[in-house]
Symmetry: C2
Amino acid sequence: MKRIFSVLLVALASGCATQQGGLAIKDMGSFHVGGREVTLTGLPIKEVVFAAGGVPAKIDPNGVYQVEQMYVQYFVPAVEKGKLPLLMWHGGGLTGVTYETKPDGGEGWVNYFIKQGWTVYNSDAAERGRSGWAMFPEVTKTAPVFLTKENPFERFRIGTGAGSYNKDVAKMKPMPGAQFPLEGYDNFTKQGVPRWTSTDAPTIAAYTALVDKVCPCIVLAHSQGGPFAYQVAQARPDKVKALVLVEPAGIGDAANAAALKNTPNVSIYGDFIDGDSRWPTIRANNVKFQASIRAAGGSPELINLPEIGIKGNSHMMMMDKNSNDIAAVIQKWLEGKGLTK
Amino acid sequence: MKRIFSVLLVALASGCATQQGGLAIKDMGSFHVGGREVTLTGLPIKEVVFAAGGVPAKIDPNGVYQVEQMYVQYFVPAVEKGKLPLLMWHGGGLTGVTYETKPDGGEGWVNYFIKQGWTVYNSDAAERGRSGWAMFPEVTKTAPVFLTKENPFERFRIGTGAGSYNKDVAKMKPMPGAQFPLEGYDNFTKQGVPRWTSTDAPTIAAYTALVDKVCPCIVLAHSQGGPFAYQVAQARPDKVKALVLVEPAGIGDAANAAALKNTPNVSIYGDFIDGDSRWPTIRANNVKFQASIRAAGGSPELINLPEIGIKGNSHMMMMDKNSNDIAAVIQKWLEGKGLTK
């Protein structure tokens, strides 16, 4: 009896964090997938000063470069309750940080879904974040796009549109009942990274390499990640076993909608769409694409959050104050598809 | 008795991963620190095509941008055994991935030190990885430097120097007894990111913001991170309580060496330095800087790994096959300084 108590105390002391409602991760790691080598020739020798006040060194930029690879970090919960790993793909101008701690310090979806027992793979799309980026215009032919601080506020249905952003939180003009934490907006802008608009092909190639490495799996994708997820699922219908699309910014290959007929998939939309200049069209395109999947025998689903009583959500709903409510909708959907143990 | 067994089984089933020699993490998250706003004016309107085949949109690049912030990810072990958090700062042209899973798939130092009970903060220096980067030449005045695939192989004492790299592992010319896993070299090149040579000031500002946020702490820094760690510790001697410098690429402010007199610090060097064209000088500079700290009453330490029987290490010793042996040297040093519970 005494011995059993000792063992029990050791067990309790050594990390049963789920008992306190915390995380319990038993393994984690990272890797890069995909990419290719490119050889540059004919470039002029550069003079580089590596440290302030240092002696310029001649650098020959001609040679072989590694480009277009993708960074992936994974977490394995102590007790796995998902039948398949959950891959999280972020949207344009961002990285996997999208799903980590929220800009207001609240718990993000990576932690939420790990707590639900999912093994999570969170990646940075090619040319974003820890994936690195290639020389332009030598490798990537175009220049990247940078967003001003006000741009996402006015475009992501956080504020009421042009002129709604203000550095002073008290002077911001948020949507009525907006769930985005205004005091976290400044932090959110720190998550932004430059993004290219000519890199869809290498990005899809890298996501496909990831799917080939770690799937069968479920893909949860946001915004620009949505069309990537559709296309990769169309290319690998045997490996992408379910799709959760959070305000997908585009669709898949309409000519090949039938490839998705056996893939459970749901698209989720936040609030304030009807009054927006772009989102009614973007959603309508997806409704049409879903109709093609349905015509081929599939059963795509669509959830408008306000219709199920979840209101005030921006395009960045995984960062909104009620992000856990939306995660719970996703969790319930996954359970309903028999994807949990 | 039966009830106790039930509780015990629940406890064992719910994540006591340390018992299997695995990780046990009870909390993790991420945030950005530091940075500033910069206003750009007078730039021409750009036409951007956001998606292939799309309609060009006019983008006005003038406005306020968030720049020079830094990304930080943290992990809290189930059972904390370190008295202070351990901050890991990477070297030039890389990110915090340096300390994650090794390029050959082996366990990196983030996991190693979490397993030892340290709370770990692993960051991407400003303008690297998930920290994002600013427009150049509009904000950062210079262009970034990109490394060819062979450059680190020949410069980081993995290969025998110029001409030692080959895409075919069998044809590589490694140092005799080299510990770097040659089959992982290709993956290592995928970890590389462009790096600027004119961003020391904003980088140090961001690291200082991190120290002000989460310290007192211990800083473990590699290569370019070394001089950053020295300088931040000199600016915040009350907050940086110990320094572990892994082949620091530079030194601190020699005129202010006395600021480090009460900071336990150790510099660690790998193998093949004497025959290298650069490292004897880089190490000698640090020996001289250490003498200044010693003259002010400090006790800096220096470990040449071959002298304690650990041989074959490259500049990337946290990725070498025997990386755990070096981590153990660091762990023992930290224990010797009374920094563990």
